[in-house]
């Protein structure tokens, strides 16, 4: 394989890791966003948390591995992206820590105040994490104030423009919808019917945000559509995206929630692919001078490392996928509370 090819393969593999993260952690972040609105009693709150209990930790590993793989395959992009989003990423870390401990510690002590505190922490950290991920994505999409020698010249405030914030809201609404469909699959009885009646309004909120964000991208981020214009075959991505969005209410109406969940997963996949198509061949577009942009070419590792990493991924990913499947299989079915639950 040539250096160019293996570079492109790694760009695609990073996309796969990002999609894996967004689809999997997407539903458990969504469950956190919906937690205070759908679960009324302590028993229901435990049910909602335990619906993701055995899975959220493994889902988050996709993000960690994405970070590690970006570090290895495109160290320059890793270094610049992470140092540019300094405060934003520290807030994201705070959220991820807060979520982990909220889940882990909530049910350890039988006190209403203690539990209310961690319930709130779970909601706040899940929502903020989704928002921050979206804001970061929005910034990367529209380009950032990148000066010479990979030196970021903006600040946290300049990252909070209207467009990134809109993408942040889109992400929150998408994860909430995805999480709601997941919860519908995992719950029963009264709680389930409450979840069911939340899916339709959540769908309209998401569909509204989706249309707005599409128009805004068309107008505000002209370079985003260049690749699609140049390679008409890529039209398939937005078309599939729109079809997947429309398929969610259809599947719910048909009484096939698993199919609806598959559709919302496909929506996330398509959006993440659109994101990759839009930024390619850049990781970070400089709004100061395109010559300062971080591209696949100037960010990549040496050919030797990319090849070794490909072997590592080739050995590791089949294992990862197989035991991920085993674990989802073991914990299939409706969520139940037992002595081992949170």
């Amino acid at each position: 394989m040539s250096y160019e090819t293996v570079t492109f393969v790694w760009f695609v593999l990073l996309g796969v890791l990002l999609c894996g993260y967004a689809i999997l952690d997407g539903f458990d972040l969504g469950v956190g966003i919906l937690h205070p609105f759908l679960a009324k009693t302590d028993q229901e709150r435990r049910l909602v948390m335990n619906s993701i209990g055995p899975l959220w930790d493994g889902n988050e590993v996709w993000l960690v591995t994405f970070g590690g793989a970006l570090f290895a395959a495109f160290p320059v992009a890793y270094a610049t992206v992470f140092s540019s989003f300094y405060l934003a990423f520290y807030l994201l870390l705070t959220c991820l820590i807060g979520r982990a401990v909220s889940l882990e510690f909530r049910s350890k002590v039988h006190s209403p105040t203690w539990r209310r505190l961690w319930d709130f922490g779970f909601f706040l950290s899940s929502t903020s994490a989704a928002m921050l991920l979206g804001v970061a994505g929005g910034n990367v999409m529209q380009g950032m104030e990148l000066g010479p020698k990979y030196h970021y010249e903006g600040s946290l405030l300049s990252q909070l423009g209207w467009y990134p914030l809109m993408i942040g809201m889109l992400t929150v609404s998408l994860f909430a919808l995805h999480g709601a469909i997941y919860l519908y699959l995992k719950t029963e009885h009264e709680l389930q019917s409450r979840v069911r009646s939340a899916i339709t309004p959540l769908f309209y909120v998401f569909a509204g945000m989706y249309s707005l964000a599409t128009l805004a991208t068309w107008w505000h981020v002209p370079h985003a559509t260049e690749n699609i214009a140049n390679y008409p075959l890529l039209w398939i991505v937005p078309i599939l995206n729109a079809l997947a969005v429309l398929n969610i209410p259809r599947a719910m109406h048909l009484g096939k929630p698993a199919y609806a969940f598959f559709s919302s997963a496909m929506v996330i996949l398509a959006l993440a692919s659109l994101f990759s198509v839009a930024i390619y061949p850049n990781f970070m577009l400089s709004t100061i001078d395109p010559a300062y942009s971080i591209t696949l070419d100037n960010a990549r590792s040496s050919e030797g490392t990319l090849n070794i990493m490909l072997i590592i991924a080739g050995l590791g990913m089949p294992c990862v996928l197989s035991y991920t499947l085993v674990i989802y299989w073991i914990f299939r079915g409706k969520v139940r509370i037992d002595t081992n639950s949170y």
Partner: protein
């Protein structure tokens, strides 16, 4: 206002030392837990299962802390040390990515089965999951220690200059992956680190058991688990001394400056070199106040020859000397604690063997506090290794007779990050970590005070869950009237 370098170093030291409270305990407890489960699997004795269930709960609390504080470390390389990340990404990144793919997925996946799967999978699958979680945490240590060791004793790479908008920038690139992985210090440092973790786990388990014996609670459980914890604590404290000695001996070739700092050895002479038992080094006057030294011993320890002198600080260029006071004190603290732990483990095993441990309350109380000693020794060892490496973040090395450039810590920083930003992240994480620490201690104490379930409660629980899953199966197969049989079974 302090400068970015000091703040970033403080931040890294603080976040990694906090993180490093948890992984060693996870690795160490993982082994204790696995041995408990293995005993439960072999004997089918419900008392062993109750013990394994108890350690699983303790393990899970600790594991969650390790994972969530670990993500911070991965982000920090990019956020605070961007120049470093660009310099080493080609090498260091691949080890980090391997950690993600080979270790994190394994441990997080099977942790779910370990914690939530007691009533969902059979004993074989559960034992297997425990083994996988244990192995996962060990693999994680493997890759992270490999990455760190490469910074200490780099190998298998060359420096390539890249043109970045008109300026040449150096970068380390892998030439030989296995030489990078098995660099001169990887294996020694890895075994020493893992054994340090096993010591901590063994003492932690022993500590909880000793506490129960002192309070007269769960005594049957305590004796059971001590029969694993005490022999392993003795074995691993002795191995820790042996591997520590190996690691230190390598330093004379790979990092002589670190060795000189650890021993506050300022002046090279042709006399044999002594070893300080303790002292108060003063780098400015190049002396050690209140020092007590055993002659010949350092020469003997380092060269296996009491007469051969050891290279001192004066052979290192002035701007490449590490600080002395901190590595000296932390190294001596680690060795002192290690020696004490061998003694305590030895005594405890002796009295255990003689069946009179429970009468020696002073020894039981000492064991209760041993995890603090083990934790401190682990931290101190890490401080010695990292501070002794300064001012280098990547040590310069010789590859095939060619002197390779290193990278100074000061040159590894993110250019775009300001002191205010770093300070605010330190304050933010200072608050979060203090709260986390309090909650962790609180919850851990809660678990320990609650103690393991009784064997009767466990058997009752197993009966009801079996009945539950049976009625579920009846419902699924449409036969919802299995009541008579079930009632009979649960009586």
């Amino acid at each position: 206002m302090m400068d970015v370098e000091i703040l970033s170093r403080l931040q890294f030291a603080g976040t990694i030392m906090f993180h490093y409270l948890f992984p060693p305990l996870s690795i160490g407890l993982g082994l204790q837990l696995f041995l408990c489960e293995l005993a439960s699997y072999r004997t089918r004795d419900p008392a062993w299962e109750a013990a394994a269930r108890f350690w699983t709960r303790v393990f899970a609390v600790n594991f969650a802390m390790g994972v969530s504080t670990g993500i911070v470390m991965e982000f920090e390389f990019g956020t605070n040390w961007a120049a470093y990340s660009r310099f080493v990404g080609d090498v260091f990144g691949s080890a980090l990515a391997a950690e993600g793919i080979f270790a994190f997925f394994l441990e997080s996946g099977f942790l779910a089965v370990l914690v939530f799967g007691w009533d969902r999978v059979g004993p074989t699958m559960h034992l297997f999951s425990t083994l996988m979680v244990s192995l996962g945490s060990i693999f994680s240590a493997v890759w992270i220690v490999v990455a760190n060791s490469w910074q200490q004793t780099p190998a298998g790479y060359h420096i390539v200059w890249h043109d970045v908008q008109g300026e040449s920038m150096p970068r380390a690139e892998v030439t030989d992956f296995w030489a990078m992985v098995f660099n001169p210090s990887s294996v020694d440092r890895l075994t020493h680190t893992l054994i340090g973790a096993f010591v901590l786990g063994a003492f932690f388990a022993a500590s909880v058991c000793a506490y129960y014996l002192l309070k007269g609670r769960h005594e049957e459980f305590a004796r059971r688990c001590l029969s694993i914890a005490l022999p392993t604590s003795l074995l691993f404290t002795i191995l820790a001394a042996a591997t520590g000695h190996d690691s230190a001996q390598k330093l004379v070739e790979t990092q002589p400056a670190k060795l000189a700092a650890m021993e506050a050895h300022f002046e090279t002479t042709d006399q044999p070199t002594g070893l300080y038992l303790f002292g108060w080094p003063d780098a400015e006057d190049e002396t050690v106040h209140f020092g007590v030294q055993i002659p010949y011993l350092l020469s003997l320890m380092v060269h296996n020859d009491p007469m051969e002198p050891v290279l001192a600080m004066d052979q290192i260029p002035a701007d490449e000397r590490p600080p002395v006071w901190l590595p000296f004190q932390t190294f001596h603290l680690m060795v002192g604690l290690g020696t004490m732990m061998i003694g305590v483990a030895g005594l405890a095993c002796w009295f255990w063997f003689r069946d009179s441990l429970s009468q020696r309350r002073w020894l039981l109380w000492t064991i209760v506090f041993m995890p603090v000693a083990a934790m401190t020794a682990n931290q101190a060892g890490w401080v010695t290794a990292e501070v002794g490496r300064q001012p280098w973040i990547v040590y310069p090395s010789v590859q095939d007779g060619v002197e390779m450039m290193g990278l100074k810590t000061a040159d590894g920083l993110s250019e775009s990050v300001t002191a205010e930003q770093v300070l605010s992240s330190i304050i933010l994480f200072g608050i979060i970590y203090s709260m986390l620490f309090a909650v962790w201690v609180f919850v851990l104490n809660h678990k320990i005070q609650h103690g393991p379930e009784s064997v009767e409660a466990l058997l009752e629980h197993k009966r009801t869950t079996r009945a539950d899953s049976m009625s579920e199966q009846f419902e699924r197969s449409g036969k919802s009237h299995g009541g008579d049989f079930l009632e009979e079974d649960s009586q």
